[in-house]
Amino acid sequence: PPQRQRPRVLLKAPTLAEMEEMFVSEAVQQP
């Protein structure tokens, strides 16, 4: 296995439902 220099950074993810809400609100904001 490759040697890793440092631990990877955990990318926090929204849930599927939160993602959809973000998506809907972004679409509304766009003209």
Binding site: P2, P7, P14, L16, E20
Partner: protein, 394 residues
């Protein structure tokens, strides 16, 4: 324009570079506008998933968390959007279920977590993500895959539903068994009426279509097995429920016909190497109901045999079949009230539910066993037909 100098595959690192502002175009061309029946037919199975993952790899390589987040969010929303638009099309749903699972497997295979690296080549291990741990996004993708799976089940259910009663119960392929039709059976006098009738062959043809589409899309064999098990459950449950509601379906000859139909479905499973899918087992209640129509129903010994044979049926279902049983010729007779009483007494200690009809809408929980790919990312080429000229192989 930059000059395109062909490079050897070993020079590529299995990444795809794209500009942040091209992300909407990437999602549009690769997800929203891609027609599974058109361009996608000639693609290697799972190509959209590999392309998206190779884009993620490049954003990870740049250590650009915003770019990674944005691409993953747009990808997930793009898939949801196309499934909202064409969610009743089996091919579209199967295509995106296969690709979502492949994308999920890639995120695991190249996560750098030892448990997922066992089958990787040295080169594949060099392609693991460097900067970010995407475990939380894997969870979101897994949730999305579950949603898509449930959508796939609803689509195939809508297609199969109108075929089941006609193909499994009404249509008779065994000639000369029934002789006289039992009372209450509508006799078709016009051949025109039969033209729109589904037969067992219609069902088998439909199963073949579903199966070949899923294989074409490179769906994981373990996932195909789960879809097939679910299809068989629907066929079995809808058939049994209709048998339990129709007196004209409860005769010795119908039992014979059902057993023949079930044997054909089993033959299909064998032919497709799907005997270990658990699909056949979902037909057990129907198989036992068909046997119940055919066994002797007179003596105490008969009652004992029925009770030990019909373990997949509830008491309510057994009693209902016996009550509905209708002789079609002079060699058969109705089941006596005392025989039914004997059965009820013998079954008294069984702690089964009072349920008569099966829940035909039940969906078995789905799992997506990890399935790493041997494909080398650095060898993947992007066909011009995808319209992704704005991304560069790195």
């Amino acid at each position: 324009h930059p000059v395109n100098i062909p490079r050897k595959e070993k020079d590529f690192q299995g990444m795809l570079e794209y500009k942040k502002e091209d992300e909407p175009k990437l999602v549009k061309n690769l997800i929203l506008d891609l027609k599974p029946r058109g361009v996608a037919v000639n693609l290697i199975p799972g190509l959209p998933a590999y392309i998206l993952f190779m884009c993620v790899r490049h954003a990870d390589y740049l250590n650009d968390d915003q770019k990674v987040r944005s691409l993953l969010t747009s990808t997930i929303n793009g898939i949801k959007k196309i499934l909202k638009k064409r969610g009743d099309d089996f091919e579209t749903v199967s295509f995106w279920l296969s690709n979502t699972c492949r994308f999920l497997h890639c995120l695991k295979q190249y996560s750098g977590e030892e448990g997922f690296m066992k089958h990787n080549t040295t080169r594949q291990n060099e392609h693991c993500l460097t900067n970010f741990d995407l475990a939380e996004y894997r969870q979101v993708l897994s949730d999305l895959a579950i949603q898509i799976y449930q959508q796939l089940v609803r689509v195939l259910e809508n297609i199969l539903q109108p075929m089941i009663v006609s193909g499994m119960l009404e249509h008779e392929t065994i000639q000369g068994v029934s002789g006289v039709k039992p009372t209450g059976l509508r006799k078709r006098t016009s051949s025109i009426a039969d033209e729109g009738t589904y037969t067992l062959d219609s069902i088998i043809r439909q199963l073949n279509t579903f199966h070949s589409i899923m294989c074409q899309h490179g769906m994981d064999p373990e996932l195909i097995k789960q879809v097939v098990k679910q299809m068989f459950y629907i066929i079995g449950a809808v058939t049994l429920n209709n048998l339990l509601l129709r007196k004209d379906m409860c005769s010795w000859s119908k039992g014979m016909q059902i057993r023949y139909n079930v044997s054909q479905l089993e033959e299909w499973l064998r032919d497709k190497n799907l005997m270990t899918s658990g699909a056949k087992e979902t037909l057990e209640p129907l198989i036992q109901a068909a046997q119940l129509l055919q066994v002797k129903k007179k003596t105490d010994e008969d009652a004992g045999a029925i009770c030990s044979m019909c373990h997949a049926l509830t008491t309510a279902q057994i009693v209902k079949v016996l009550n509905l049983y209708t002789p079609v010729n002079e060699f058969e007779e109705r089941v006596s009230v005392s025989f039914i009483r004997t059965i009820q007494l013998r079954m008294r200690d069984r702690k089964d539910s009072p349920q008569l009809l099966m829940d035909a809408k039940h969906i078995f929980p789905v799992t997506f066993p990890f399935s790493p790919s041997s494909l080398a990312l650095e060898t993947i080429q992007i066909p011009a037909s995808l319209g992704l000229g704005f991304i560069t192989r790195v």
